[in-house]
């Protein structure tokens, strides 16, 4: 009866606004939710209902919701859902969700933001500012802000108080940071930065906190496109926690607040200071090592030198001993050889001299013989008498006068005769 009644009372589907307090996707493919409504003070719950998305619907609706909002359906979200009212005897009152409008959840602003992001992505420019090289020393800082904004004061204060001696140069480029005028005003400030011709390392866009709606100016397509094309890295600190604007997305680096932006810059420079210190430390350590090593070498040098000298001396004494013994051996060998040679020679010599003696003896005998044959006795014996006058052998008739007494010697005696006449040979 109740079911029939309800069906009669709510025959169509209805669009209802509610907050999701529970959301469970069951393995069967259905999705079970609990919807609530709070009182205007946003705390006390004044209505609560179970809701179901059947699997056939959920299979389409789930992915669609996620693609449109960038987030899956979950507790805490405000939704606008098309429902039919049902009653089951066992399970009671239940809303069956047929459709959900994601733009309600996101809000018109958020939908637009997604659209711009998608467009920048399609154009291939969304990461172009991010792709710029972050400077090693972000010291020359162009600030885009409203001069009166608390955020700007925070930034400057942080930089002055906590820089720890690091040097920063800041120049403010004032811009309107709220409302419709802000996007063109920020673009103008960016143009101004380029027009100065000063070599800035980084552009900081900062703003104090504010209502969520105030962030809409940072979701302008023109401004964000301009930022992607800007030649200097942009650091954004727009002063909000939860919402993420398109400007934050396209900036080189995005932090939550102006104070955080200053901290980020100080950090960047501190890292370099640290890098310098550690390089200096490494240098000192290395130099120390090299010096220590050389000192050690110097200290051990005398000892090494001594042992080297000793080694050398030892080697030399061994060598000289070897030479000496070799020399002795050689001498002995030489002596032996030469004595053998001498013996041999003397034998040879004695043999030779004997032969010579023999030869001489024989020659002498020969000589004796021939001398004997010339002796007067021999001649006399042969029958040749010697004529002698006054004791001298007469060889010519001239040597003896007529009347002189000539002695004729024969082997057995002497004849004496007187010369009566001389005849001289004609030939003479």
């Amino acid at each position: 009866m109740v079911r029939n009644n309800i069906r009669q009372q709510f025959p169509e589907t209805y669009w209802v606004q509610a907050e999701v307090s529970e959301c469970k996707a069951h393995f069967s493919g259905h999705c079970y939710l609990e919807l609530i409504q709070r009182k205007t003070d946003q705390q006390a719950i004044c209505a609560k209902a179970r809701a179901t998305i059947w699997a056939s619907t959920w299979a389409v609706l789930g992915p669609y919701f996620e693609s449109q909002t960038g987030s899956r359906l979950m507790a805490g979200q405000q939704i606008l859902a098309e429902v039919s009212v049902e009653f089951h005897e066992l399970y009671g009152f239940n809303l069956v969700i047929k459709n959900i409008d994601p733009s309600y959840t996101l809000g018109n602003q958020a939908m637009r933001r997604l659209e711009i992001l998608r467009r920048l992505e399609e154009e291939g420019v969304i990461d172009q500012n991010k792709e710029l090289e972050w400077p090693a020393l972000p010291q020359r800082i162009a600030i885009i802000s409203s001069p009166a904004a608390a955020g700007y004061q925070d930034f400057i204060h942080q930089l002055e108080e906590f820089a720890g001696g690091l040097t920063f140069y800041t120049a403010l480029f004032p811009a309107v940071m709220q409302g419709e005028e802000s996007a063109p005003s920020i673009i103008e400030a960016l143009d101004h930065i380029i027009a100065t011709g000063v070599d800035f390392d980084v552009v900081v866009i900062i703003r104090g906190g504010g209502a969520v709606a105030d962030l809409s100016c940072f979701d302008e397509y023109d401004l964000c496109y301009y930022c992607t094309q800007f030649p200097i890295p942009i650091l954004s600190g727009l002063g909000h926690d939860k919402d993420h604007s398109v400007l934050d997305r396209v900036a080189h680096t995005s932090v939550k607040t102006p104070t955080a932006a200053a901290e980020y810059l100080i950090d960047s420079l501190s890292q370099q200071a640290f890098r310098l210190d550690s390089a200096a430390d490494r240098l000192i350590k290395l130099a120390g090592q090299v010096l220590d090593m050389n000192k050690l070498t110097l200290q051990t040098m005398p000892g090494r030198l001594m042992s080297l000298v000793q080694q050398r001396l030892h080697a030399q004494s061994i060598q000289s001993e070897r030479i000496q013994s070799r020399l002795k051996q050689l001498t002995a060998e030489t002596i032996m050889q030469s004595s053998q040679q001498t013996a041999m020679l003397s034998t040879k010599l004695s043999l030779q001299s004997q032969a010579m003696m023999e030869r001489q003896k024989w020659r002498l005998q020969l000589l004796e013989k021939s001398i004997n044959s010339f002796s007067p006795e021999t001649i006399l014996k042969k029958g040749f008498p010697l004529s002698v006058y006054n004791g001298k052998v007469v060889r010519s008739v001239q040597e003896i006068p007529v009347g002189g007494t000539l002695e004729t010697r024969l082997t057995d005696g002497i004849l004496t005769s007187t010369i009566n006449k001389k005849y001289v040979n004609d030939e003479h």
Binding site: A136, L137, G165, T167, L269, A273, R275, A280, R282, V290
Partner: protein
């Protein structure tokens, strides 16, 4: 990139290179002292950039802020 930024990066690159070489090779004392001297010069120049105010740049920024 400005020449000043470039020189900082270049200086640090050179310092790193010197360190790497000193660590890798075994330099003699003369070579080492020459290298260390160069590295110290570079480090001092870098440190100056970080911690000392360049009056010229300061002046330019003051003028920008006065506009």
């Amino acid at each position: 990139m400005s020449t000043e930024k470039f020189s900082y990066n270049k200086a640090m690159q050179e310092v790193e290179q010197i360190l790497a070489e000193l660590e890798k090779n075994n330099p003699d004392v003369d070579e080492m002292s020459r290298r260390v001297k160069r590295a110290v010069e570079l480090l001092q120049a870098c440190k100056k950039k970080l911690f000392e105010t360049d009056e010229e740049i300061k002046h330019v920024f003051e003028q920008l802020n006065a506009q």
